[in-house]
Subunit: 353 residues, 2 copies
């Protein structure tokens, strides 16, 4: 879709007037995804104007390997939340779309009831750029959806590469979907995804209740093991749980990651899932972690974009482009120390060589 | 130790003349570790002059959690190698030394026989800078030791933070020491260290032979599991192993990570360990991975130093230093989109704002 010719107005985004608002959202996100410098300037202006109207949604990250049933889960959850009066936006981060040139998950028939619902907005993954670039567009799209009044924003990832880290870095709560077998929790541990999870959901529990219960026990103990070693918040939570009743430590309560079972296909357990989310949300609000997590995310996002910008400027610098091929060849051949090459190239960019 | 007043000559480093050469090595490494710009220029000059004399050693990385027996292992191995006619350098990467201001492993009494041997050179971790900076100094010190004729360079890490990745990124072979119990292999898997290992050594096998054998079986299957899923080289090796005999695929042979037991304290199994290292080395030479790994490492090192340099220049830019505090405050407070702040700061550095 080419960027819109007429500018998107903040008013059009804020007015909840059905189809015209949906078109304004689509136009705004397309503008954000444009690589043209003038569009980027317009997008920055729009974002800054929107900002006071953002941040009021609950941002829910959902991950899991292909086949775990994310689409069915999100469709079931989305319809459940709409039934409770919410408006639900679903955004996707799919790093593979940057290779294929289009999101493999772009097909809205994936969530056939949710995608046609007037109180839902579904947007596939941006289909160009690095994972960092794709994540940035998705973060910005999230702000647009929030300004447009969607009070639940679900950011889904396909569980490829580092996309889980990107999603957990832009959401208030990160949920990991697992199948009721012991194999893929080891993968999640290995990739460091398990320790990102605020909640682990064993989906398809209807297929084999015993296996699901075994998986629940295993993952619960894995969360304890890795939480205890790797996660200061976890240790603090355990400390608080053992504090003398009435003492200040006992007053501050922290969330301990937990594991639940459900069947998205049958719709069983979705209400218990949402209860857990609400408990998490109120605990995070009470202990201050909700706000501090968003603050950290915003700053981390800023630094990530700065790093990406610095690298891009370096590679595009005329003198660097001129010197780089030979430096790479010499370093690869062992004729120039890598650290010396780095210093020479940096000096060239700075105009000192 | 302050940097040397008289310059280090390449000749002094190349001449294997006992104590004077040792002093030249120490002076050269001290020069490399200096942060003064003129020292850095001298160091770059020295490194470039040394480079044709480097690269001929075998670079062996050794990691493992505190208490696994790294010092005893390195002492036993070092003396074994000296007995075979080698000269052995031992360098350490200890990120905690940048906090404490001195390496906790600096005490040479750790390896009391090896440290006083005239055919061994032991240098503790550089004690300032980021992990990237410490790793850079160690890589450069490695080049000095190679030029000085040490044909085995052991780079040891204390297994803290990302130091294992740094060590595996500068060595020809990465060895992980484990204790004969099942607990710490899960930690190694979680931290992604297991998949870096070319060889896993279960040390202290004398204490409980049964436990060591169980651990060996467990880690072997863990290596297979994670190797198969995560490591293309592993998949390729398995593919080659199943190829039709005589076909081109069957001719190219790859190393499959393996697990051995030994007791560094009793000195049993060190010869079998070294046999495994030599098998690895000849296989890597035959299939071209020895050279390609070094090439990749050199280029990765160059880019890492460029990234670090770009970040430093950004943070030190006067206009950035002026604008950064307010940008950080506004982003943290949710009054400025993070991506907009990033673009504004980058423009400020580029002189456009």
């Amino acid at each position: 879709m080419p960027p819109a010719k007429t500018p998107v107005t903040v008013d059009a985004l804020l007015a909840d007037d059905g189809p015209p608002q949906r078109r304004a959202i689509a136009k705004a996100i397309t503008l954000l995804e444009s690589t043209r410098a003038d569009h980027r300037a317009q997008a920055d202006e729009l974002l800054t104007a929107l900002l006071p109207h953002t941040g009021k949604s609950f941002r829910l990250g959902i991950s899991g390997v292909p086949g775990v049933g994310k689409s069915t889960f999100i469709e079931t959850l989305g319809l459940f939340l709409i039934g409770q009066g919410h408006r639900v936006a679903v955004l996707t981060i799919d790093p593979s779309s940057t290779v294929s040139g289009g999101s493999i998950l772009g097909d809205k028939t994936r969530m056939e009831h949710l995608s046609v619902h007037e109180r839902a907005y579904i947007r596939p993954s941006p289909s160009s750029g690095t994972l960092g670039g794709v994540a940035e567009k998705t973060r910005e799209a999230m702000l647009v959806c929030e300004a447009a009044g969607y009070d639940i924003v679900i950011v889904e990832t396909v569980g490829v590469g580092q996309s889980e880290t990107a999603v957990s870095g832009m959401t208030d709560m990160f949920v990991l979907l697992q199948l009721p077998n012991a194999g893929d929790d080891l993968q999640a541990i290995k990739k460091g995804v398990m320790e990102l999870a605020d909640l682990v959901v064993i989906n398809k529990a209807d297929i084999d209740k015993d296996a699901a219960t075994r998986a629940q026990a295993q993952i619960t103990s894995a969360l304890r093991l890795f939480g205890h070693h790797g996660n200061p918040a976890h240790a603090q939570a355990i400390h608080a749980a053992h504090a003398t009743p009435g003492s200040p430590e006992a007053e501050v309560r922290f969330w301990l990651p937990r594991v639940i079972q459900l069947s998205a296909l049958l719709g069983t357990g979705v209400d218990a899932f949402w209860d857990a989310v609400l408990q998490f949300k109120s605990l995070q609000a009470a202990n201050g972690r909700f706000a501090s997590r968003r603050e950290k995310q915003a700053l981390a996002w800023m630094w990530e974009r700065i790093d990406a910008g610095l690298k891009q400027a370096f590679r595009q610098h005329p003198r660097v482009r001129e010197l780089l091929p030979q430096a790479v060849a010499q370093v690869a051949a062992g004729r120039l120390p890598a650290s010396t090459a780095a210093r020479q190239l940096l000096a060239a960019q700075a105009g000192q060589a």
